[in-house]
Symmetry: C2
């Protein structure tokens, strides 16, 4: 891997999500990425930043977040340069977020190689992850391509994007990298089933690798309305007028994902099938699937939890809370900041309803 | 009822229990009687004191408690005379407790009529209760008898005492009062079933009525070892040596219940069958039985509780706690001072095991 952790390697960490499905732990004022949901002692953002440090110098790591969360990012990442924390005035999905960060990076390094990743995913095997990223960087340096990371589709999750691939890229170093045939966002259940059965579909992990020039060209081609807006303010970036410019730019930028805006349309998209142990930890159930479990299938975060006749439960309570539970099977039990939630694991899609009801009945204190 | 709320009517409220089956709400440092377990805004002790005020003047109400709880009693009952709060140095069951309070009362009124009642029971129909007590006082004034209140045995509870009665007392005013044939403490299940079936058994509510002279004679006959100990210190009561005397007296007093020590042995015992709506609220399940329930059979204490698909649950959480629960049937869910406990209602006898385990693993902080 010599020469790979070079100064033209950059990372963009996307940390603007609101993680509503992780209620009550995830709150509007402190979403999932700022929480230690795995009980490791690190927030998900901190773990992500540590991974980024294996890819590039600290000064090349950018974090894009909502201006609501700027202070939370600073708090979680004291090592991160303050000028690398980019605050979005409003949520506009991933394409504007990436365009903004790319414009910042371009002013520092026109031939940058960039890794884009969400701040709230779990990566189990970090070495494997780093190897995949560097493999992607090598291809991105050589050719004007857009690369995403794909995870073998294990079950028909209808909340994910699916990537169908076809032929291998031929060079030896690129061994395993596939040309993408089709991107499909959130398929219907029957379609998701057929994807999983067919075997040549991967989940889109939302992790991207490209050269600055490649993504710039793609934006110009597929999202010129965003390119124009951001381009106009190029000279204002890194000045005291940046904030006002970004405020204006975001007010007129369309809200669109990078997947829908570019990846689904471009014909130079590649995927690296990956097996480093991944989860988007998108729901409590997804978290349960990746957590360690005791002999009864219970996954527990909390120092004082005593279970009797409990099986297959996910429990997450504060350190100082004594929880004694008896006779529960397949429940999610979470306590966080004034709220206790108990819900059958199979019913967790109703958490959205709970939060809506809570907001109506109790106001936004608990949301 | 003219002339009944006279100065020779006295009440003794027994408030020394530790309520271990009500964990985690009931704690060693604040047992059940000092809690608002019914969510009425009053602690059980406060409700009991209010009932006592319907029977006799405030200055004739005595509260016997552990010295650990003297301050809690003072806090809950600002109206209660401080010299009427009797603090026991150690727990010695009900007989010494009653003997001590009787000795205090005797110094004020040798022909007192006394109601003895636990501090932690529920009485639904207070007027009916008061009528029963005054009926008892009239009999106790006329004859040297020991009277207890009996509740129609509704199901074979093996934790209660049972009273078998036979003939009616004949005078018109005593209508309904029965002579007691047999006292049986905590029968085996099969025996409890036969008691309930036979129809002439009542539960012993632990509420007693007698004249001071009648109970004094009974103590002299059946518990002379307690009479002697207390009698010795008669002159020290209401002096600054009372505390030291009581300390000594309790150290040598046997630990024995009034039921076992006197009521089971005496032949002048009567019972007033009562139907004022009673529960000893001895367990969470017993509390559930007497609580109001919503249309799904859930009994809820707490301002911010939202239930989805929950049935037959007993829920008791602090006012400021938001609890969202989904898909639970027949559970007890209680939060109190750092502890959340969830337990199937049918398994609540295991709470004792939980507290033992908690004490071993976590120390007595949570007990």
């Amino acid at each position: 891997m010599q020469g790979l952790k070079e100064n033209k390697n950059f990372c963009i960490i996307m940390a603007g999500g609101i993680g509503s499905r992780f209620w009550p732990m995830s709150r509007t004022r402190r979403p999932k990425q700022f929480l230690d949901v795995l009980g490791t002692g690190e927030t998900l953002l901190q773990s992500t930043f540590e991974r980024a440090k294996m890819i590039c110098p600290i000064e090349n790591i950018y974090v894009v977040t909502s201006k609501l969360y700027g202070e939370l990012v600073e708090h979680d990442l004291p090592e991160c340069r303050k000028e690398n924390i980019l605050c979005e005035p409003v949520r506009r999905n991933t394409a504007p977020c990436i365009a903004y960060a790319m414009a910042k990076i371009e002013k520092r390094c026109e031939d940058a190689l960039v890794l884009v990743m969400p701040s709230d995913h779990l990566i189990v095997d970090k070495e494997n992850f780093v190897n995949r990223i560097f493999q992607g960087f090598r291809l991105a340096q050589r050719e004007q391509v857009l690369i995403c990371l794909g995870i073998k589709a294990a079950y028909p999750n209808t909340g994910y994007g699916y990537i169908q691939y076809n032929m291998d890229v031929c060079s030896q170093d690129d061994c395993g990298i596939k040309k993408v045939k089709l991107f499909t966002e959130k398929p219907a259940y029957e379609m998701a089933c057929s994807f999983v059965e067919s075997g040549d579909f991967l989940w889109n992990a939302g992790i991207f690798i490209w050269s600055l020039q490649a993504i710039k060209a793609a934006f110009a081609k597929f999202l010129p309305e965003i390119t124009e807006v951001i381009l106009k303010g190029r000279d204002l970036l890194d000045t005291d007028q940046e904030e006002a410019f970004v405020e204006d730019a975001y007010s007129i930028c369309p809200s669109i994902s990078i997947d829908y805006g570019i990846m689904e349309k471009a014909d130079n998209v590649y995927v690296i099938p990956s097996d480093f142990g991944w989860s988007d930890i998108g729901t409590w159930g997804a978290l349960y699937n990746v957590m360690n479990k005791d002999e009864n299938g219970n996954s527990v975060v909390g120092k004082n939890v005593m279970l009797y006749d409990c099986t297959n439960c996910l429990i997450n309570v504060p350190k100082d809370r004594l929880l004694v539970a008896q006779g529960l099977d397949d429940y999610i039990i979470v306590e966080s900041e004034g709220v206790v939630m108990m819900c059958k694991k199979g019913e967790e899609q109703r958490i959205k309803q709970f939060t809506t009801d809570v907001e109506i009945e109790k106001g936004n204190e608990y949301i």
